[in-house]
């Protein structure tokens, strides 16, 4: 399988503050990767760095064989990197439909396909961004990222603070995106067990460095090791 994403010796952070130190891994196309670790170890910073939202100090980021570490955020997005931030960042003054429309680009994803993935959004299409629930906002944030027709989807704690029924819906959607829609997925998640169940590969970060890189199934099957690396969900 060709490579979707490769990081080599990445050193990045915010201004002079370095958060990620010598981070490197590669991810094949259509693979799903779980990024785990305790709070403040650099998981969000890693996704933000891939997207170009941090200060990049050193290293190399390749997306489908092309170096992207010097590209602007919107250029990375247009190449096919979709990003769903932890804060969701829904536009409150725009309706659900308009939130999707502003991110729309020609490709495989239309509003109807997003509504097919998240039928609840179809019912809320005329509601403003600040008039929908947290779970619906998360669906909208994912739908908005999909409207840009990405081949790599970066998801930053999409399940945080949501009701179990919504978590199930989102996990099913993530699985569908990875398996049926051939998307490469990077999933940052506090709940290690949930993340490992829907991914092929796993990374564990500690203090900005990778301390585990391997199969999700293996890590899930070794609760002792998993517990020593992260606080399991």
């Amino acid at each position: 399988m060709p490579e979707a994403l490769r990081l080599e010796g990445v050193r990045a952070g915010y201004g002079a503050t370095v958060v990620l130190e010598d981070v490197g891994f590669s991810l094949a196309e259509r693979d799903a990767l779980a990024v785990l670790g305790r709070n403040g170890v650099g998981k969000t910073t890693m996704l933000a760095t891939i997207m170009g939202l941090t200060t990049f100090h050193a290293g190399r980021i390749e997306f489908r064989g092309r170096s992207v570490d010097r590209l602007a955020v919107h250029e990375r997005s247009r190449l096919g990197i979709g990003y769903v931030p932890q804060t969701r960042d829904i536009f409150p003054s725009l309706s659900v439909e308009e939130n999707l429309a502003v991110a729309g680009r020609p490709g495989r994803w239309s509003q109807e396909r997003v509504y097919d993935l998240f039928p609840r959004l179809a019912e809320r299409r005329a509601h403003m961004g600040n008039q929908i629930s947290g779970g619906e906002q998360q669906m909208l944030a994912m739908g908005r990222a999909l409207m840009g027709d990405p081949s790599l989807l970066l998801l930053d704690e999409p399940l945080e603070g949501l009701a179990p029924i919504i978590v199930d819906t989102l996990l099913a959607a993530i699985q569908r995106l990875a398996r049926e829609e051939s998307l490469t997925v990077v999933l940052v998640e506090q709940s290690a067990k949930l993340a490992l169940e829907v991914t092929d590969q796993a990374l564990v970060l500690n203090r900005g460095r990778i301390v585990y890189s391997g199969s999700s199934a293996e890590l899930l099957a070794d609760p002792e090791r998993l517990g020593s690396l992260v606080i399991a969900g």
Binding site: S77, F91, S93, L94
Partner: protein, 324 residues
Amino acid sequence: MNHPVGYNADHRLRWTEWLPWVVALAVFFLLPDYLSLGARVLTYILFALSLDLILGYAGIITLGHAAFFGLGAYVTGILSAKLGVNDPLLQMLCSACAAGLLGLATGALVLRTHGLTQLMLTLAVAAVCLEVANKATPVTGGADGLSGVTVAPILGLFRFDMYGRTAYLWCLVLVFGGWWLIRRLIYSPFGAALTGIRENSVRMHAVGAPVYKRLLTVYTLSAAIAGIAGALLTQTNQFVGLNVLGFEPSGELLVMLILGGVGRLYGAFVGPLVFLIAQDFLARQFPEYWYFGIGLMLVVVVLFARGGILGISDAVIARMRRKA
């Protein structure tokens, strides 16, 4: 979560949106002595609409919008007084193009900056335009202004009369056109993108939106509309002076928009109406202290009605609905 301003998912025209036009036509028939003031109000409404487009919807803060208004005014003045071009439509077109080009050229620089730097750059553009108009006396008339502006009948049919009837209707038609264009724009995907940029430009970058290009497009369009407003002022006054350029008209326009309500579309109607009528009334009653009244009004609105006068009416309607 931010309070949504100026945007409604329902794009259909509401009956209340016809009210300004009904009132404007009623003024024409019922208050013929006030048509001159009415034309001035309409001109400033168009000018305020152009500012609302970039400030209220795209979030571009400016203190130099008068540069485009003034350029539009001077282009029409120079065309008529110096070059003998008196066709009002041609004057309007040239003013819009000149102001649009200035918007494009200055926007290319201004929109690469943010916050205080952006504010100072817009102010600098207006100051430079003022100084150019002041020094280029042979062309602009300098401090004396440019008189001798004549306007040919519109479409060869409607002559500007001494009662200001044609001028008033001409302003009304252009304001209607400007309102229609801006309304279409803000309810289009382009308008939704502007709202997105205003609310979170980083997120818009991350979804791949060409933020800078969209801002430059709207800035240029806004400048062209401000240029048309400037041309209207020259055509209706048949004179243009330095008072159309610089910080003062830019600041006054901002005050008008804040009074009416920023990012509400119709705040650009209410603000100039209240400001100019108050100015007219206060200047007659208290010739030396009229600005005190305007200042007091602004302080009250800023302290107690962040959404401007329209914000007050929205709050009252919401309270009545809750009680009902």
